[in-house]
Structure formats: structure tokens, C-alpha cells
Amino acid sequence: MSPTRMSYREALRAALREAMQRDPRVFLMGEDVGRYGGTYAVSKGLLEEFGAERIRDTPLSELAFVGAGIGAALGGMRPIVEVMTVNFSLLALDQIVNTAAALRHMSGGQFSVPLVIRMATGAGRQLAAQHSHSLENWYAHIPGIRVLAPATIEDARAMLWPALRDPDPVVIFEHAQLYNLEEDLPAHWESNADISHARVRRNGTDLSLLAWGGCLGKALEAAALLEGEGISAEVIDLRVLRPLDMDTVLASVRRTHRAVVVDEGWRSGSLAGELLARIAEESFYDLDAAPARVCSQEVPIPYAKHLEDAALPQVPMIAAAARRVAGRDA
């Protein structure tokens, strides 16, 4: 099979279509997933193909339709709930945290919740503070749910099916900047369908750059820049934000002895902080330098382009942090 060029959006749509075709229990519900074609046009055309029962438009009721997804999952269906963006998922946090994530344990193992929740995340489009959150770490904090961040076409295409096969709740973050990304879908994408492991996206020897979602591209760009300066950066795509695949992360850090984490979340209480803590706990003596992280500035994300750019992790900052950690910033 020759590789097919497609956008991240098309890859997600193909995955949705495949899931709907393979399993009659699967249905998609959320705000404007049907008639409107999806806020980010991910589900465009699916209403015509599968009908309004399975491509189900909901009212503006995040709490109720996420909770209804949990109930439908308990009732034997395999719902995919699309929450327009992570910003609005805050209205449904109660159901996700207090019910979906806790139910299995709270019921002594009697009720698993096979629910998939997809949501867009991230900043970079001048949408200001209420539409630019990156709160993946809030979800990655919660035992009982799996958190995924597909950053490539391949993962956009491949992660949904195993997520639906997971008997427990899975939250999938799609960075809004990625929807238009175009790449070749590798011919062997299906054999890479995995929702447990981080992946090395670029091999290197001098330091490990850890990134995911919307920051993976930036980390890869920084690595290319650094190569021109004689710094060989390995880039790890975390992919799975809970549970963390520390084996892959630590194996890389043990090879390179230096680590920089890139995280679009705010530094305080960030996932980057968690990663660095674990690296310190488990690989302290493998490190040749204090590790670093590049996070968003601690400010509600502003509207003006120059301010927004300055608030978010950018390639030059990542490169600068890498030089510092590699001891090449003199």
C-alpha cells in the first residue's frame, strides 16, 4: 500500500468512520457534530452517512451529554463524546472526574465505563483567554482515565479504535493547530495502533526533548535547528499523558543524560513538572546537567498576536533551553 497524504482532520474522520462501520454500538455525540459538520469539520459528512441517531447533535449541555455518554457506556453502547474544546469541558468536569474516572473503583470493580471523550485543546489562534486553554495535565492527574494526545496523522488515524476497545474512559486531546496539518499516512499505520507508549520521533545523542500534541512540531523544528549547531537532540513524543510511559522517557534520558520538556500548559503544577520530578526520582545520577522545561508564561492567554506568541512555548525558546542544558550557550 502506498502512503496516502491526508490532513489530521481527515485522519480523525477516517478513524471515526471506521469505528462506526466496525461496531454498531459506536456513536458520536456532541455540540454541532451533525448538521454543522463539527466545529473543526472533523465529522463533516458523517451525518449523511450514518444518520442522526449515531451522529447525534446535542444541546449546549456539556455536563449532561458527557454524563449521558457515561450512562450510555454503562448501558452497553460505545459512545464517542466530542466536547467542542477543553475550555468547555470544565462544565463537564464533575461527570468526568466524579463519575467516569471513579465509578469502577467506587463500585468495587463492577462497572467499567468504556467511554471516549474527544476535545480540541490549545492556543495559537488569537482566541484569547477563554478559548486557549491547555489543561491536559488536569485530566492526566486523575486515576481511572487514560489520556491521549495524538500529534501525528498516524496517531490521529490509529488511536481511536484502541481507545474504543479500552474498557475504561479515554480522553483524547486534539490540538486545534493540528487539524490542518498534512502528512503521509504510513502504510503500516495499523500495526502502530498503540495507546500505551511514547515514541522516539527523532533520534539524537546529546539531549532528550520531550513533547506532545501541539508542541511536538515545535520540538522537532528546534531539533533541526540544533543539528545545524552540532547538537544532536532526540525528540520523544509522549502520546499518552496518562499513564506515563516512563520506560521510553528514561531510556532516552539514560542515553543522552540531558532532558528538556516542552509543555503548552502553565509551569506551576504542569505535566512538565511531573515528568521532571520522575526523571529526577528515577534517573538523577544519569543526568549530566539540571533538566529544564519550556512552558507557557503564567498569564491568561492574551489576544494580541505578539503577546500570545510571547506567552506560548516557541522554537527559539526550546532551542535556547536545549543549548543551556547541553552546556552550549556560552
Binding site: 444541546p59 455536563l63 449532561a64 449521558a68 450512562g71 450510555a72 465509578l103 467506587m106 476497545r165
Partner: protein, 337 residues
């Protein structure tokens, strides 16, 4: 404050003796079980929050007997009686409150989180209003799969102020889902009387806003409850979409074991006790010749024996080993559905 309450429930009981006595026996089972819970709580054997249903037994009893085995039940943290009448054994309920591995939630839930997959009892939810979206989803699944299941969703009147109530009522009505919203209006949400939290206290009117049929029943009268629940469940099962029922009831005990009850008069509680579901119903049965004192004592004794056995079981049941603390956070790979 002088409390005025309606006269005690009265009138003929329209059931065969066997069923009429079943209702009585079930109310007594809940009462005796919960009295034992309160006692064990006083002894420090049961801990955490304990919300007693004493005074409200007619609601769960009348309503549960209107459901079939295929139906789903979603309840609140005041759910001991609902779990029991749904068919969870008293021993498993007691063991759960004692935090034992043989508890119906393996000691992970306690009083507020009784669960039972076998009887489709989807819990014990301690987030006020939290069960409503879940019930809507269970009903959605039933509808999409063409199963004739009704989802019965119990909640207190306090939940009516939550967004989850309004969102869920709208969604259920919009999609015509088979769910019975069963509101147990005991007049107080902790210490907040309905009139102090709702701009409009007519709960049925709130359902009508969503175009949902609404019924109101005397929640101290097991017959009125059962009739209203039967009507609601039948209507839902026939595909008529959701129905809302308000049961007007009263809790005789504190909200939980930590409540000094500053918000209501002793006299009010005493006045409501004249409407107590067990003694008023017993009196009606006796007047009709369906019950005599001997039979009452026999069924009361049977309940006491069940409680004694359940308590003994709970006391001797094993504790989950601490090594198993982390089990059931996620489904083990081999156990997937």
C-alpha cells in the same frame, strides 16, 4: 412555629393481602436495617457520612415494586433502602458500611456508594444531581438498543437547583428517552428549605417547562407512591418519553449523623411523624382485616433477624488486604468487555 401537616394517609389498600404485606414488610426491613446502622454508627463501627432514609421508606418501597428486573436504577447517597429493595442483600449492604471486602462495593464505596451490577443498581451517587445525566445515558442506550428498559432515577428536591437537573430533563425530553425522574421531596436539602432555594417551589411546574408529564404523590403513603410510580413507569415503558414524579415526603432523622438540626422545629418533626409511612399503613391494613398485631410482630421479627444476620456477617467479613488497594482503578487487560 406551629407545624401544620396534612392528615395521615387513609383509605382502603387496593391490593391482595400478600402484596399489601410485602410492601409493609419491605418498609419495616429498611427501617430496622437503618436503625441498626445508626446504632453501629454510634459505636464507631460504621464511619464516614451516613444518611438515613427513616421516614421516607414508602417512596423507595412503592417505587421499587413498580420496576422490573430488566430496568435500571440510579440513586443518591441516601440509598440504603433503594439498594435493599432492588435486591442487594442486606448482608452485602451492611458489609459495605463496615468497609469489608464482601461489601457490595468491596469496601470502596461505603454508605453513599452502594452498587450492584447483577440487579442493575448503578449506585449511590454523592454528587447532588450527579445521577441524572447518568440516568439519561442509560436510557439513551436502552432506546438505541431497542431494549424495553426503564431507567428509574431517584434524587432529592435539592438537586432541582443544579444545572445537571435542567440539562438532563431537557435532554431526556428532547430525545424522548425512557427515564422516570423520581424526586424525593423531603422539604430540606441539608438545612435549606425548598422555599429558601427555589424562586418557584412547584416542582411539577419545572418538569412541565420541558414538556414532560409530571405527577405528584403523597410520599408518606406507600399506596399513593406505588400507584404513581406504576403509572409513570408504564407511560415511560410504552415509549411516551420521560415522566417526572414528585413524592412529598419527610425525613425524621437528621440529614446525616453530623447534623444538629438547627433549621427545623422539633414540633414540625413530631407533626410529620403522625404521617409516618409504617404505622399509618399498618393501621389501614388492620382496619381492612389484612393485618393483625401478631402478623405485624412476625414480620417485624423477621426483619430484626435479617438485620442480626446481616450485621453478624458484616462484622465477621474479611477486610480487603492493603496490597489490593490499587485494584479496580482500571480494568485489568484480560477482563475487558
Amino acid at each position: 412555629m406551629t407545624a401544620t401537616v396534612a392528615p395521615p394517609p387513609s383509605g382502603p389498600v387496593p391490593y391482595e393481602q400478600e402484596f399489601a404485606l410485602r410492601l409493609l414488610a419491605d418498609m419495616v426491613r429498611i427501617r430496622r436495617m437503618e436503625e441498626a446502622c445508626a446504632q453501629r454508627y454510634g459505636e464507631g463501627r460504621i464511619r464516614g457520612f451516613l444518611h438515613l432514609y427513616i421516614g421516607e421508606e414508602a417512596v423507595a418501597t412503592g417505587a421499587m415494586h413498580a420496576l422490573g428486573a430488566q430496568d435500571n436504577v440510579v440513586a443518591t447517597y441516601r440509598e440504603h433502602g433503594h439498594a435493599l429493595l432492588r435486591g442487594v442483600s442486606m448482608a452485602a449492604i451492611m458489609a459495605e458500611m463496615f468497609g469489608r471486602r464482601e461489601g457490595c462495593s468491596r469496601g470502596r464505596g461505603g454508605s453513599m456508594h452502594l452498587f450492584d451490577a447483577a440487579t442493575r443498581f448503578f449506585g449511590g451517587n454523592a454528587i447532588v444531581g450527579g445521577g441524572l445525566p447518568l440516568a439519561v445515558g442509560l436510557a439513551l442506550a436502552a432506546k438505541m438498543q431497542g431494549e424495553g428498559r426503564v431507567t428509574a432515577c431517584f434524587f432529592g428536591e435539592g438537586a432541582v437547583a443544579e444545572g445537571a437537573f435542567h440539562e438532563s430533563m431537557n435532554l431526556a425530553a428532547l430525545w424522548g428517552l425512557p427515564v422516570a425522574f423520581l424526586c424525593e421531596n423531603n422539604l430540606y436539602a441539608m438545612g435549606t428549605a425548598l422555599a429558601r432555594s427555589e424562586s418557584r417551589t412547584d416542582l411539577c411546574a419545572k418538569a412541565e417547562v420541558f414538556g414532560m408529564p409530571a405527577l405528584r404523590a403523597d410520599g408518606m403513603d406507600v399506596v399513593a407512591v406505588h400507584e404513581a410510580a406504576r403509572q409513570a413507569v408504564a407511560q415511560v415503558r410504552e415509549g411516551g418519553g420521560p415522566v417526572f414524579v414528585e413524592f412529598q415526603t419527610y425525613r425524621f432523622r437528621a440529614h446525616s449523623m453530623f447534623d444538629p438540626e438547627l433549621y427545623r422545629d422539633r414540633a414540625e418533626v413530631e407533626a410529620w411523624k403522625t404521617r409516618g409511612p409504617i404505622h399509618t399503613y399498618s393501621a389501614r391494613l388492620k382496619a381492612q382485616g389484612l393485618l393483625d398485631e401478631e402478623r405485624f410482630l412476625a414480620l417485624d421479627r423477621a426483619a430484626e433477624e435479617e438485620v442480626a444476620e446481616a450485621t453478624a456477617f458484616a462484622e465477621s467479613a474479611a477486610l480487603e488486604p492493603v496490597e489490593d488497594l490499587l485494584r479496580d482503578v482500571c480494568t485489568p487487560p484480560e477482563a475487558g468487555p
